[in-house]
């Protein structure tokens, strides 16, 4: 295992955990938040013919999940490179 001599595992891991937390918070808000807990309140707004809470539960959360994973992956790549632990 080649590791850069300047590699600081603590700093790398805390950067990773910070990104992880942000990602999981968004994950939670769009599904459990908008689609379940606050659905009733959101349903008084509309997106086209969709009540908004219903849209999050059956469409929006899925679209956001897809975008979220790619966003997370690209941010992780950046963190990997900054700490010089990316793959060749």
């Amino acid at each position: 295992m080649s590791k850069s001599s300047t590699f600081d595992p603590k700093a790398y891991w805390s950067a990773t955990l910070r990104l992880l937390t942000i990602t999981m918070v968004i994950w939670f808000i769009v599904s459990f938040g908008a689609g379940i807990l606050f659905r009733d309140a959101l349903d008084s707004f509309h997106l086209g013919g969709y009540p908004l809470g219903f849209w999050f539960a059956q469409q929006g959360s899925i679209f956001i999940f897809v975008g979220l994973i790619f966003w997370y992956a690209s941010r992780m790549d950046k963190i990997d490179r900054e700490h010089d632990v990316h793959e060749e």
Binding site: M1, W27, F32, I36, F63, A73, D80, E87
Partner: protein, 603 residues
């Protein structure tokens, strides 16, 4: 050309394709057998994961479930997609970095314990077998409905095919056939979805069509009005409690992330970076079906009501006698599917017309109106064991969809090929993790450490062959509760494997005893709760009333409580037992950063 011949040709062509791919992608080493050589492109793996993931249940049953549950169906939509975010962020990249072949292998190494590895194998086998039986049954059902052959014949053909490419090709054969199966199933699903959306909402994209309008009102508010007028719960509200929706969704998400046949797909890509990307691609391919399904469900539900009650489209009085259609003039697709029992009509009030409504409605005013109109009970449902039951079978919504929408025969044939592809691809993935748990974890890992690679490969093939036979038997002679337990495979994965893997990555101090007791308590609690509340189906005992549910959580959602229990027990036991050794803490540190992830390695 008649429909059966056409279906035979389309299904036969798809089989020829799978067999051709299997011969091309034979496995020559254990590495190819377990992880397809470890060099699969992330987009290819994403597509294979999509097919692996979308089972007979996703393809055939989910849209129908949503159609009748309305908003309540969201648990499946969010639950079976949100798990991929957890996979991408919490599990897949780290397990890929660890670089071994199986999930129990990770648990055994991380918790420096053969016992932990064996417990993980037990969880894995239980989860995978309950799941695979449903798939084989699905293959048999599609065969019997579309090709008019016996369920058994269908099963044997399906078993033979899965046997051929999983035994011969291992993970390598499965990966490339799954790619082909994905293409078949996604076309089969989206073509009818596009047409039904065009018919009803005038837009080809089902995702827009569901939010579109019909006349001058939005489609969903029109649907809400139709179903509530007929005594059902409003479509966009549904009838499950919030805590139950919350728990089921979370159990399905964590269960998805903890399913071994999904996790191992991420062992096949070359790099940690690819594991993250691949989860994204997998979800893209899954989302194409999962965002179409709610439109298919809602529109098929609307079509069904509009077919039997002409006042739905004309806007007239639904209770007028002539609004309900005459049984004699019911459409051909209904007559055709009545033979399968998925839909049935029983003229309770003897007026020769079909009244379809919710006879169990709690709305007194509605019931009074129905009675005044001379309705003597709901007359549209399905047949089980020759007896009329008052609910239309979920599966009809996808299976008869092309006929309801008046699409040409080749689309119907495509649905058959798609249903079989969905069932076969999932079955193959499950059979492979079962066989590798036996040959790699139990034999090579614990009981026969000295076997050569060649012997191990042979053992893997033998185990796959035996697993196919058992799965076929379970599909032929399903222990009545198969449909029920498939959903529970998620609860068990959520309560046993998921928390243990998660702690293995994110806690350096979690130790052997904590992991073993955590896994066992999560598994045992969840299993007991499910068996207790489903004992009417599982054991033929008297049903326990739902009012006794713990905090109002249904057996489908209880995996969440099992997961919390797993974490809690693991933490308490850890505090009371010897700490995790240093070299394991180093191992955990090593899997946390990507550099140095070689291909998946044998010992």
């Amino acid at each position: 050309m008649d429909l059966t011949t056409l279906t035979f040709i389309v299904v036969g062509a798809s089989f020829a394709l799978y067999i051709g791919i299997a011969i091309w992608a034979r496995a020559g080493s254990t590495k190819e057998f377990y992880v397809a050589g470890g060099g699969v492109h992330p987009i290819v793996n994403g597509m294979a994961t999509g097919a692996d993931w979308m089972s007979a249940a996703s393809f055939i049953s989910m849209a129908g479930l949503i159609a009748f549950l309305g908003y309540g169906g969201s648990v499946y939509l969010m639950g079976w997609t949100g798990g991929y975010v957890m996979l991408a962020v919490l599990l897949a990249p780290y397990l890929r970095k660890f670089g071994k072949f199986t999930v129990p292998e990770f648990i055994g190494d991380r918790y420096y314990s053969q016992t932990a590895r064996i417990v993980a194998v037990i969880c894995l086998i239980f989860i995978s077998f309950t799941y695979v039986a449903g798939q084989m049954r699905g293959v048999g059902i599609v065969f019997s409905r579309f090709l008019e052959v016996e369920i058994t014949t269908g099963l044997i053909i399906g078993m033979g095919l899965v046997f051929f490419y999983s035994v011969l090709g291992g993970m390598k054969g499965i990966t490339y056939t799954q790619v082909a199966q994905y293409v078949v199933l996604i076309f089969a699903y989206t073509i009818p979805a596009v047409f039904i959306s065009l018919n009803i909402a005038g837009t080809p994209l089902p995702q827009l069509g569901l939010g579109g309008s019909i006349g001058d009102v939005s489609f969903l508010s029109k649907l809400n009005q139709v179903v509530t007028d007929l005594g059902f719960a409003a479509y966009t509200t549904g009838s499950k409690t919030m805590i139950d929706v919350f728990c089921i969704t979370l159990a399905l998400m964590a269960g998805t992330a903890g399913l071994p046949h999904v996790i191992v797909r991420f062992f096949t890509v070359p790099k940690v970076h690819d594991a993250r990307m691949s989860a994204g691609w997998a979800l893209v391919f899954i989302a194409i079906l999962y965002t179409s399904a709610p439109a298919v469900g809602a529109m098929a539900r609307y079509n069904l009501h509009a077919t039997v009650n002409t006042a739905v489209t004309s806007g007239g009085d639904m209770f007028a006698p002539e609004a309900s259609i005459l049984g004699e003039t019911r459409p051909d697709w209904m007559k055709r599917w009545e033979k399968t029992g998925l839909i049935a009509w029983e003229d309770k009030n003897g007026d020769g017309r079909i009244q379809y409504y919710n006879e169990k409605s709690k709305n007194e005013a509605f019931l009074a109106k129905a009675e005044a109109a001379g309705w003597k009970g709901n007359e549209l449902g399905s047949k089980k064991d020759g007896k009329f039951v008052g609910n239309v079978d979920n599966d009809i919504m996808v299976l008869a969809n092309p006929e309801i929408a008046g699409l040409p025969n080749w689309v119907i044939a495509l649905i058959a090929a798609g249903g079989i592809a969905a069932a076969l691809s999932t079955a193959a993935g499950l059979l492979l993790v079962i066989s590798s748990a036996i040959s790699h974890d139990l034999m090579k890992g614990v009981f026969a450490k000295n076997i050569s690679e060649k012997t191990e490969l042979m053992a893997g093939r033998l185990a796959a062959a035996v697993a196919v036979l058992i799965a076929g038997y379970l599909g032929y002679n399903p222990p009545g509760f198969v449909a029920q337990v498939v959903a529970f495979a998620f609860g068990l994965a959520c309560a046993s494997l998921f928390p243990t893997i998660l702690m293995g990555i994110f806690s350096k101090s979690m130790n052997r005893a904590g992991a073993i007791f955590g896994m066992l308590s999560g598994l045992f609690f969840t299993l007991t709760y499910i068996v207790y509340f489903k004992r009417d189906i599982l054991l033929g005992m008297e049903k326990v009333p739902d009012s006794q549910w713990f905090l109002g959580i249904s057996p489908e959602g209880i995996g969440v409580v099992g997961m919390i229990l797993n974490f809690t027990v693991a933490f308490i036991v850890m505090k009371m037992t010897a700490p995790c050794p240093d070299h394991i803490q180093h191992l955990v540190e090593g899997i946390r950063y990507p550099r140095g992830a070689a291909g998946a390695q044998a010992h």
